[in-house]
Amino acid sequence: MESIILQIAARHMRPLLVVLSLIVLYRGHNEPGGGFIGGLMFGAAYILYAMAFGVEKTQKSLFFNPINLTALGLLVALLSGIPALLLGNSFMTGEWYTFFAQTAFELKLGTPLIFDVGVYFAVAGMLMLVMFSIMEE
């Protein structure tokens, strides 16, 4: 299926969706969003691209294999439990750090965000893996 409208849309939507997925990922701890939904959006960006340009071209434009992305996500999610152990707490305890405290740029980062990043990768990789193999048929 060669559709010029879809192709132009996909070309512009892909970076937008990727950036949006990162925003959704970041705000996920206290507001609607998170790693799962962010990962779905990231995957959707590439599925849209694949619908417009074909699976083969999309896979070439990815510098990683979706299944490796999933594995990486699992690894990151697993590692997010380790800092708590080093600090003497129970595995997977949320550890938070505040950067630039008391200023306008106050930034709270913690291990739950790392876990969410892991979920993000795992979901995105799995979604692409499944969809690409269905679309190739």
Binding site: N68, L74, L78, G81, S90, F91, M92, T93
Partner: protein
Amino acid sequence: MILVLPIILPLLFMVVLIFTRRWLFFQQAFSLLASIVLTFVSALILADVYQNGIMAVQPGSWEAPFGITLVADTFSALMMTTTSFVAIIVMIFSPGFIDKERQTAGYYPLVFGLLMGVNGALITGDLFNLYVWYEVMLTSSFVLIALGGSAEQLRGSIKYVTINFIASIFFVSAIGILYGQTGTLNMADLAAKMRTWEGGSYINSALMLFFIAFSVKSALVPFFFWLPASYHTPPIAITALFAGTLTKVGVYTMFRFYSLFVVFDQQFWQIFILTLAGLTMFIGVLMAASQFDIRKILSFHIISQVGYMVMGLGIFTVSGIAGAIYFTIHNMLSKTNTFLAGGLVYQRSGSYDLKYLGGLYKASPFLALLFFIPAMSLAGIPPLPGFFGKFFLIKGGFEAQQYFITAVAILTGLFTLFSMVKIWNEAYWKKEPEDVKVKNGKVHPSTFVATALLALAVILLGVFAGPVMEISMNAGEQIVNPEMYINAVLGR
């Protein structure tokens, strides 16, 4: 903190194995090593739990009724150790049996995914978390059954996944009902609340839904049809792994739930469970006796033997439960061993069908011995663990004055012997069939070593029946006295 290891180690191994999925030799060596590490960790937990009582941790530092608790008692630690041990054997067996395409297509990562699900289901103390681990287990096992994608495998896997999904629906609706009524998902907290609950009608309907879900997962009558329809389709190494792990987790969960949640109408539940156990035993073995494919005979046997384990649950005395636990351990080893021995037959003669087999005893007495040991163990011939398992169960049955179910168990034992002798006669003893040419294949050394090691383990389980039975008695006490579990989790 050691209690998180049975879950995170398989996950870590799985990740490593996904990244290295094309390097065949590394996959084989690493999986073997990894399963040994896993067995070691589980054995450490078992030793700790046996000495110091039930162990509970709160990952994420959320206190007991709110967070997800991980709990290990003697039963779950024993199951974990046996599961990982079965995994070691299958990891030795697989390189010589499963073709290279399947091995590099993700067989090894999936096995560790399965082990993660099994371990998680064994040690979680949270209802919804338990559901999630069951799904992890189901997903991995579904892909393992379908791996390779032959038409027969796809047929089997569709049946497998459909019925198991339906069971999951029952499972999750029961969780919903209980959560709506009591407002807690923590199993210990829920059990404590139930003991002071008034108006238990919802609870019984939720328990019945649970019971249906787990009787599908553990292949109890009348929900066993998916098992023989799917288990014989993948390569037999995968079937052996399933036989040693999956249905037994369903049985384990049934034990756990009965112990914690059956507070009301115990009379009804006992009769109900004993009836189904008797039917399962008997129907399973009758259907096994009528089959001619080795894998199908053995698959129907799984069902029959699940009946024995559930019978121990229905008796629900310390000695009955302990007998059932010993029987479960024996079954995980012996059953896997018979499947592996069936794999050897296939490598040697190129078929699983008894009609096309024969003369194996004459051709290779060693292989015959490797089948003889676990088969006689399943049938319950004295020095082997199957005898002790059945003996303890039947003794427990007599002590609890459940004469009818005990008689059924003894009768079933005879039929088991008959169907094992049937495989023996047809495949090993009778002359080679004249009209078909029996293949004269070679047995791969790794499959031979794996089967021999497991046969050795089966013999040792029989020799050390005393100590293992002591551990089972300890586990049985913890199951019969759920207060121990509740107090360990809630820290009272």
